[in-house]
Symmetry: C2
């Protein structure tokens, strides 16, 4: 079999696994209990690995706050000293089977949504949605609020959600995403429908299992936040990426993520190896006129795992409301989805885009197609302030460089090289 045929077969296998995947939300537990390799002195962050000195402001700040929150240091200087000493392991969420939105700060006590796919026996975890915290760009106030919120997530929300989902016996996430897509979500920047569907599915279990004096807070969390379901979609997408990781000759992307400095991808055939390039800035709308491009960090967060499985920017015609953020139009959204179809393996009919006459979302980013067409994935995403907090939303593109690097490594990994194979792309 030619290399080309082997790659085609491998990519078809990946697509079949994506289709067969059944990620089920099963639990909420502290990170220390569910993430393999997690320790009391580990702090995880979004995006590919990054040296402490290179880390962007909000992520650095988050790691320091997590060290304080876990009681490992008494003040910020002490926390930073521990980090510089190497007494704290600072590592990507993705290397611990997890994903984290925006800065992605996850420590031992963080309650994690656990999503398990019994078909492929893979698991994806995500921290819970922490609230937008917009308008809190005073650094000290932001950090105090973040830690207060973490405490609440650990003591109230995490246990309540965990008890409810265990009592329910789990909730399949793919139908939830499919249904939300029919209701104007693209499952990355817009999760208004997914969050309501989640509440509807869970409300009776929450009533049964929550402490009566905390039930009001838990329900208010759903009412006041429209992004609650995003973390389940992200954990499900992480599990779906895991299901197709490590397939020999498979040129499909399994992870896309960003740390505010670099954009990183992983490819199936090259397993856990990272390929990175500088993260792009985000074109979008700030929630207040007080903010501008100088306030924003470049693209950040593990949420691009949604585009990795064909949602978010790839399915943006399902959520025409989001065109407001990019001064766009339905025609623009449609054109973008068509563009993404040029760099992907196929259409996943489990994720239908109703206004495109039920076309499936374009799934399975093929690094060969990205390099050939020079079309890079479009990503719907929020905008983070350099002092913390979400200050806007819009769109960006994955940088080209990491795909070109990945293709070179992929070619080296493939044993046989035929004339029509990616080796032709070598410099």
């Amino acid at each position: 079999m030619s290399l080309k045929d082997r790659i085609a077969a491998a990519n078809r296998l990946a697509m079949a696994r994506i289709e067969a995947a059944n990620p089920v939300w099963t639990d909420v537990r502290p990170a220390i209990d569910v993430l393999p390799g997690m320790t009391r002195t580990t702090v995880l962050h979004a995006g590919p690995p990054i040296a402490w000195d290179d880390m962007c402001g909000p992520q650095k700040m988050g790691v320091v706050q997590a060290v304080l929150h876990e009681g490992l240091a008494r003040d910020e200087a002490g926390a930073e000293a521990l980090i510089l000493d190497g007494a704290i392991t600072v590592a990507p969420c993705h290397e611990y089977g997890a994903v984290g939105g925006m800065a992605g700060i996850t420590s031992a006590s963080s309650p994690m949504a656990v999503v398990h796919d019994p078909v492929h026996d893979v698991t994806g975890c995500s921290q819970l949605f922490q609230g937008p915290a917009a308008g809190l760009q005073d650094r000290d106030r932001y950090n105090a609020e973040a830690r207060k919120r973490w405490r609440w997530l650990e003591e109230v929300l995490g246990p309540a959600l965990g008890a409810a989902i265990r009592a329910r016996g789990g909730l399949p996430v793919k139908p939830l995403m499919g249904r939300a897509l029919e209701m104007g979500d693209e499952c990355h920047n817009r999760n208004a429908a997914g969050t309501l569907l989640l509440l509807n599915a869970l409300v009776q279990d929450l009533i049964r299992t929550s402490p009566p004096d905390r039930l009001g807070e838990v329900l208010a969390y759903f009412r006041e936040n429209e992004q609650v379901s995003l973390v389940l979609s992200m954990a499900a997408a992480k599990a779906m990426g895991a299901a197709i990781s490590g397939i020999p000759d498979c040129s499909i992307v399994t992870v896309m993520c960003r740390n505010g400095v670099e954009f990183g991808i992983r490819v199936s055939a090259t397993g856990d190896r990272w390929f990175t390039a500088p993260a792009n800035r985000i074109e979008g709308l700030y929630f207040s006129s007080e903010w501008g491009d100088d306030d924003a960090v470049p693209d950040i967060g593990d949420s691009a795992i949604m585009e990795t499985i064909g949602l978010g920017g790839h399915a943006q015609a399902a959520a025409p409301v989001l065109q407001q953020f990019v001064a766009g139009s339905f025609a623009r959204a449609t054109a973008m989805v068509d563009e993404m179809a040029q760099i992907t393996q196929g259409r996943l009919t489990q994720f239908k885009i109703a206004p495109l006459d039920f076309a499936g979302a374009p799934v399975g980013i093929d690094i060969r197609k990205v390099v050939q067409t020079r079309i890079t994935p479009v990503i719907d995403t929020a905008i983070a302030h350099r002092k913390g907090g979400v200050i806007g939303a819009g769109q960006t593109r994955a940088p080209f460089g990491c795909f070109a690097d990945a293709l070179r490594a992929f070619s080296d990994t493939c044993q046989e090289v035929s004339p029509d194979a990616p080796a032709a792309q070598r410099p």
Copy 2:
């Protein structure tokens, strides 16, 4: 001022009132307590007035069951004798300030959602959503189930919703409809988002005010039915129609409704006068292959009040999922909305259609434009079985005849007739 100018001014006034209207869901109470003129021996039905002998099967059956349910007769023969004697007042919901979906059967005990618009001091009421009752076309079983469901609505759901909405201090319905439109509803055949938004808005009040042993049933009602919010939208639409009723020289439709035999409209300038024509059949999809066109009654129900205010079929591009029922496409939906814009006064930006780049829904059906263009309103609607129950969904058109008749009467009503006035349309 010429007649044409007077009509234009009157129609602009109607449009301004539609825009200014603020229908607020304030209560749920038995019909006898809230409908002006309601008596213990009155049974209301959907659509324009109709003689007993002409009434379609399911509506006739519903009136008889309501007489039994209210304890006014001991058996069906006794009930029918009372009706034929004139001891029971059988009248349209619309003549009592109410609307009723499908057969629309409403009797003294029926719990009514009350929607009040303080801006124009008008009220619209609707019976609660009774469940689809599909697959129950055995006449006796259907009637037994219907009466059981009525009892539950009266004893459990109505009091629970009433207590919750009173505790909440009311809920504005227009923003709910606007938000649902952004989430794939067109607020007639599809109310999946509206129902979830309603649950989210109300859940904490329901928990506080419902008897703990009935809370589960009440929440299950929201979880198991996707059309719960339709009745609030209908009551709000009825109130909006009332707000523009009786404006001299105004050629805008205030009511469209059907009784399974005739389609009826009312026009602002001609007040409460009915104009009718035979109801059309519905083109659509049956929920089971066991049903066909012979099982269905023609267009039935007061729910066309949604198209009267620019939603449903008029805004169908907001709900592309519904094209499945008519083997349609997004392009077809878009063309239909554009067509409706040709017969309406303007676009209501409070009801934005996101995939049409946020164009407002076409609102205010102008009978002159209908007659001139011969384009009649398109209506999204469910299909009723002639033995009761909903067996499908699809689309139909309002018949032309009632608009032509209305225009003749409108011309007579207008005192001055100028050459460019509707009198030109007289036969």
